[in-house]
Amino acid sequence: MSAVFISGIVIFVLAAFVGLEVISKVPPTLHTPLMSGANAISGITIVGALAASGLGEGTAATILGFLAVTTATINVVGGFLVTDRMLEMFKKKPVKRDG
């Protein structure tokens, strides 16, 4: 195996353990925003999509690149926005008791 590939595997394994450590303490009430926020982060594929579609080599690669940029952008923009929308509702509100 090439050194680049091995260091990729090392990064993957370590990052997975960081993820397990960081996320295992999230309270159940935040599970949905955690999931949609994580989903937005998985839109990091957009970096690959940008690289692939900008190389301008042939029609097929360009069309595939365009579709990749589109789907990844849906993921990124939609994911972060909807997470923000949910978390806005979770913010501490003054308890309304007019009695």
């Binding site: 925003p33 989903n39 982060i41 365009f66 909807v82």
Partner: protein, 451 residues
Amino acid sequence: MVEILYLAAAVLFILGLKMLGSPRTARRGNTLAASGMLLAIVVTMVDAEILSWGAIIAGLIVGAAIGAVLALRVKMTSMPELVAAFNGFGGAASTLVALAELERTDAAFSGEIGSVVAASLAIGTVTFSGSFVAFGKLQGLIPGRPMGLPGQQAINAVLAAGVVVFGVWGVVAGVVAPYWLIVVVALALGVMGVLPIGGADMPVVISLLNSLSGVAAATAGFIIGNSALIIGGALVGAAGMILTVQMGEAMNRTLANVLFSGFGGAATAGEMSGKPVNSGTADDVAIALGYAESVIVVPGYGLAVAQAQHATRELGMALEERGITVDYSIHPVAGRMPGHMNVLLAEADVPYEQLLDLDQSNPRFGQTDVVLIVGANDVVNPSARDDDQSPIFGMPILEVDHARTVVVIKRSLSPGFAGIDNPLFYFDKTMMFFSDGKAAMEDILKSLKSL
């Protein structure tokens, strides 16, 4: 330098995810993760020697418009559908990146890259088709009950083997065609994998697909040799896996059991016992609630279906005005995705402090006057604790039967998703109020005001 900036983006993801773990910091955490994403995008655009901007700009505009409209217009009750769809788009993006690389290089990869291209195609495509079947089930476009064929598991095993065979063929022969065949077979595998899984198991399935979308992103990172993708993907893979395990534990089921057993939906209506129940009216429920000192509301998927979260909150506030303590107990798998009920109640302005999880709830039912169950069934079924013959035996439940009085709002006596009878409905202390969740809340509130 570029590598350092990608690392900075990855660090922002990690910090963002960490801050998502506490209600106080969650919103800033999300913003932090988003700024990490922006950084990664800008760095790529500057660095990647992009020759043709047309496709990129078009893709960014179309994608941002679709994403924003979906995110800003979705109803909170439909959040599981939206997250399922976003998982699907994430899987599709990874598949498309791998395909673009395939077409660009005409499959002239090293063995390593060929293998990760094959993995990216397989995982990304299964995530894509599986997520959209889950979406269809949640939307009601496809029946929510398990839909299996005879020999389903054999079919899936053949499809999975097909993915491996085509992958090996592609890598060894260095030709394009087998890679496309992986996509075809993986599309079928995702569909066939999720169709046999029932609606109530969706919290597990969505968590798993979420995890897979992360792994797919990581494989795309291997293809283009970018550590930000590998780290981001691994983080999401881990987050999804934690939730998958937690949801499985909350149902006392293994992942294999959820995926392969076709659990639930067995229409065993014939087994419904003809035992009598105490059936009450809105006035009866209002009296029970209005003269209680403490009330715990237990919401379930039926609350989301009936869009009853706001009406429930109004009733809760009216009870609080009478000096009654009101809390809300939420089972981990109530609803169709992890945390589904919490989001609905937050939307209806229920303060975070009043949302209790399973461990906080169970010790309190013994000192609670009235438990009000809205659209929950299997998660409060005492058979899971008492009857070792029950299919759901061993699943942790909300032990609502320890409360003095239990009020169940339900449209009919039909069994829950697991297709089993719920002895709770026949207890002496239980009062059944047969009605739609939202209408019930409004009627009870009306009666309460005239007490």
